[in-house]
């Protein structure tokens, strides 16, 4: 499923607010992802996202409405359809990057997970895909932790170098795995032949002449940055927080 770029960015905005604890890392992450998704237009509507968020939050009646109001805000933006020939963001790409944001502050909270599951259901992402991406992210975090611990240890570099190289390779493989999962969604199956019964009309053969292309234009460039983003974000987080979490 394709999502409007502004809707995807707005979803991130709501997501970082859901546990009521917005860290500097999350804000940096939000800005980076938004500029990655829509470098041409993000700055034009950046303020309107904040304004719309405030209007939504103003609907809170009691304190315990907060999560529901966030949910309603996300539902509204995700329901907006991508127009024909409009570039969009794939749902799996959105999910992966939301997981990156969720783990960015070292705390994958109950509210964040609940919201992610809701978003997965809204976007018709299969249950096993969601669970698989979650496990991939946990593995990514575990390996990054391990790398950080090894590098900080007082063991001689000659001794740890093979371990460091292996762990860096593991991160690459895990990210490659996530990338292929995202790309699977973008593939459009080859169509069967569809020849109209009346073959007298020459113009109808143009219908047969169109072969479905592998990937919708404009979306593949977004998916190809998955690896760079995840590595960059985790590299920064490990330096800033040094936290151990699994």
């Amino acid at each position: 499923m394709l999502i409007k770029k502004k809707s995807a960015i707005t979803t991130f905005y709501y997501f970082i607010a859901v546990d009521k604890n917005v860290s500097d890392e999350e804000i940096d992450m939000y800005e980076s992802i938004a500029n990655e998704i829509d470098p041409d237009s993000f700055n034009e509507y950046k303020d309107s996202i904040d304004e719309d968020y405030q209007k939504q939050i103003d609907k809170i009646i009691d304190e315990d409405d907060f999560f529901d109001v966030i949910l309603e805000g996300i539902d509204q933006v995700l329901l907006k359809k991508v127009k024909e020939k409009e570039e969009g963001v794939s749902s799996r790409y959105l999910l992966w990057n939301l997981l990156v944001v969720a783990y960015s502050d070292g705390d994958y909270s109950y509210e964040e997970r609940k919201l992610l599951k809701h978003i997965a259901r809204m976007l018709d992402i299969e249950k096993d895909i969601f669970l698989e991406m979650e496990q991939l992210m946990k593995a990514n975090v575990a390996v990054s932790n391990e790398l950080s611990t090894i590098e900080k240890s007082d063991k001689p570099y000659n001794e740890i170098r093979p371990i460091v190289e292996e762990l860096e390779n593991r991160r690459k493989v895990i990210i490659e795995s996530a990338t292929t999962l995202i790309e699977d969604e973008l593939y459009v199956p080859v169509k069967k032949v569809d020849v109209p019964k009346n073959s007298l009309i020459g113009g109808t053969m143009d219908v047969v002449g169109n072969v479905a292309s592998d990937v919708a234009s404009g979306v593949v460039s977004v998916a190809s940055t998955v690896g760079d983003q995840t590595t960059k974000f985790f590299g920064n987080i490990m330096k800033k927080t040094g936290k151990l979490f699994s």
Binding site: T149, V208, V211
Partner: protein
């Protein structure tokens, strides 16, 4: 008089039919060409997709095989070396160590871990050095014991045993481009559990526009054959995606387990250095570290030895069960294992 009008009318209809017939013949030829070209294009499109996916499959299995070796040579070997040096290990003594009931390693399981270590040593030194390509793919797909032949001495020898040595599906993952006939062992054979038959793969080399007849009916017939081949290729795509995902799932699982074991092994070494090698004299916390490490080591061994594929290239159901159970253990007991 009305008759002359009638005569003119009939003459006009006849003339129109004649023009229609001529147009039909011309359009039929042109449409046949277009249809044949379209069939070619669609078939190549489907074949390219399968090519991409089978390469991804091969890469994922090879990555898993490579990771298995790295874990065996790394943390698992360190664990076995250190654990072997500790005497009087008794995990039945659980006073003050209630969580030890979750960690069970008996002598048989420990012997299996030691055997695995011995196998790795012989694989990576001596006769079998620099494992690459097909061997790693086979290792990713099957357990260690199923992959490598052993001499009567128990030492692994430089040859793939049984199913790994002659497996068409593994050859399918490692072969050259399908379009250029890179089927290798898979040529003409059913692969991926029989889901993709040889003929469907062989059509990759067929140029329908050259082979197909010039009539529109012939072109339609070829198009229908291509549709059937594409359907089979798409089934192959689904199977490849399933295998790739399973391989990466096990890859990430092994990565998580190793990230738990390695720090525990370092702690075990510290324990031995500070408290000696008599388990019975260890502090409670030290016993806990040794027990945790042993439990994770046994779990890693079972993951490494879990085959992902059956002999005929189908996904094995038991592998999914193993994956889910181990994930549950890590997710549910991470605090117990890592606290």
């Amino acid at each position: 008089m009305p008759l002359p009008l009638l005569f003119i009318g009939i003459a006009a209809v006849t003339g129109a039919t004649g023009v229609g017939t001529t147009v039909m013949a011309g359009v039929d030829q042109s449409n046949a060409n277009k249809l044949n070209k379209n069939s070619d294009k669609r078939l190549k499109q489907a074949g390219n997709r399968l090519d991409v996916l089978r390469k991804q499959c091969g890469e994922s299995l090879e990555a898993l095989g490579s990771e298995k070796i790295a874990v065996l040579e790394g943390s698992l070997k360190e664990f076995v070396d250190t654990f072997s040096s500790i005497k009087n290990v008794d995990f039945t003594d659980s006073i003050g160590l209630e969580e030890l009931s979750k960690f069970h390693i008996d002598k048989k399981e420990f012997d299996e871990v030691k055997e695995l270590d011995g196998l790795v040593m012989s694989l990576t030194t001596g006769a079998v050095t620099g494992l690459t390509g097909g061997a790693l793919t086979a290792l990713g797909a099957y357990g260690l014991a199923s992959t490598f032949a052993t001499a009567s001495t128990g030492t692994a020898i430089a040859s793939l045993s049984g199913v790994a040595a002659s497996n068409a599906t593994l050859a399918f993952f490692g072969g050259g481009s399908l379009a250029t006939g890179g089927l290798g062992m898979a040529g003409g054979t059913a692969v991926l559990g029989g889901l993709v038959a040889g003929p469907a793969l062989m059509v990759m080399g067929i140029i329908t526009s050259a082979k197909a007849g010039k009539s529109f009916e012939d072109a339609l017939s070829s198009a229908a054959e291509v549709d059937a081949a594409i359907e089979q290729l798409e089934i192959g795509n689904i199977q490849c995606i399933g295998i790739r995902r399973r391989s990466y799932m096990f890859y990430s699982l092994l990565a998580r387990l190793d990230s738990i074991l390695l720090p525990l092994v370092f702690e075990m070494k510290d324990v031995v250095e500070k408290e000696g090698n008599d388990y019975s004299t260890y502090k409670t916390e030290s016993k806990r570290i040794v027990a945790k490490a042993a439990s994770v080591a046994v779990t890693i061994k079972s993951v490494i030895d879990t085959p992902i594929l059956s002999e005929d290239g189908e996904l094995v159901d038991e592998a999914e069960e193993t994956y889910k159970n181990v994930c549950k253990t890590i997710d549910g007991e991470t605090k117990a294992l890592c606290a």
